[in-house]
Symmetry: C2
Subunit: 214 residues, 2 copies
């Protein structure tokens, strides 16, 4: 069994979207605002830099009790002592990830289609990143239609793991995503590019709470 985790406001990092600001500073602010989980996603860094960044984030997040997941790179997660890994459909297969990281690691999987989610129900995954919920400019390689709020609502009774909605999420739609059955929302630009990452995280946390109550 993986350790427990809280998907409410799940920050996926993107250094280019930080607009020149320091990533650690952005994440630190976001956590003070209420981010409950962080995924370090680095597509340009070399491995040495990626590990150093992951270590610095882990050192900052551990005292806050906020888990750090690494996008794609199981080796970086091992080197930095991260809490888990988030993989996409083209990344390492979750069976391999689980075998390497062991039962206590948190393992998330991106699922773009109903077929992918249903297949993952038979795999050792802890949560699904379901997206895109809405059209988004952060990732441009989606080959599938957005799920929409109704898509999430129809998906919920068919799956056994928590899901987090990602893609086009902002403070204006977060409540509806959670109300539709998602455990939380995953955001990139809504926090990384926000004038105040702390205020943005706080507003998202409130919206998620509203969504749960409705």
């Amino acid at each position: 069994m993986s350790r427990s985790f809280d998907l409410s406001v799940y920050l996926v990092t993107d250094r280019p979207l930080c607009q020149g600001r320091d990533l650690l500073d952005i994440v630190g602010q976001a956590v003070r605002g209420g981010v409950s989980m962080v995924q370090l996603r680095e597509k340009m860094a070399d491995t040495r830099e990626f590990v150093e960044l992951a270590r610095a984030l882990k050192a900052m997040l551990a005292p806050q009790g906020v888990p750090l997941l690494i996008n794609d790179r199981v080796d970086v997660a091992l080197a930095a002592g991260a809490d888990g890994v988030h993989v996409g459909q083209g990344d390492m297969h979750v069976l391999d990830v689980r075998r390497i990281l062991g039962p206590r690691a948190i393992l998330g999987l991106s699922t773009d289609t109903l077929e992918q989610v249903l297949e993952a129900e038979g795999l050792p995954v802890d949560y699904y990143g379901v997206g895109p919920v809405f059209p988004t400019s952060t990732k441009t390689d989606f080959s599938h239609q957005p799920w929409g709020i109704e898509g999430l609502r129809r998906l919920r009774p068919r799956i056994s793991r928590p899901m987090v909605g990602i893609g086009g999420v902002d403070v204006g739609n977060a409540a509806r995503i959670v109300s539709a059955g998602a455990e939380g929302v995953a955001v990139v630009s809504a926090i990384c590019s926000a004038p105040s990452p702390k205020d943005a995280a706080r507003a998202l946390a409130k919206a998620v709470a509203v969504g749960r109550g409705s």
Copy 2:
């Protein structure tokens, strides 16, 4: 202690340099010609494809007793059951690699300068990839002068681990590289782009033998 290995003719793969031919086929031919070690280097593949390629190579090489190393990616090595990892100066630190892979993995390090080799003498590395020996077009990111044959000769008495010369290596200079104190030669295009990878490997193996005798 890492397992024993033979650096004589060390093939570093490069799919673009295979000129449209199948990588597994090239490597298979090269091994029949005398390649003693293979490093899978993939800079473009996603992780899933990288792992699949590594597994296919491992299945092919294991019966031949030829070790498979993975360039940079410790996670891919773990997933595919490769024999070790080769890292560069910007990849994961060898202390981290060794900790993750354990004492039996073969661990190679690229060293571009005397300072880097001497620093590595205190680290848990099994061999050095010393390069470039000559100017080369395969890697264009070298910020340092080629070692030259004399550079290798002066380096040899200062180090305790075997080294393999890389960069601009071909059948015409392999004997001199080994004669200067290298355990073997690492080649990319000299095999990947050769009309007959098997003949190219065989000629390199002969040159290495000549270099040892001289």
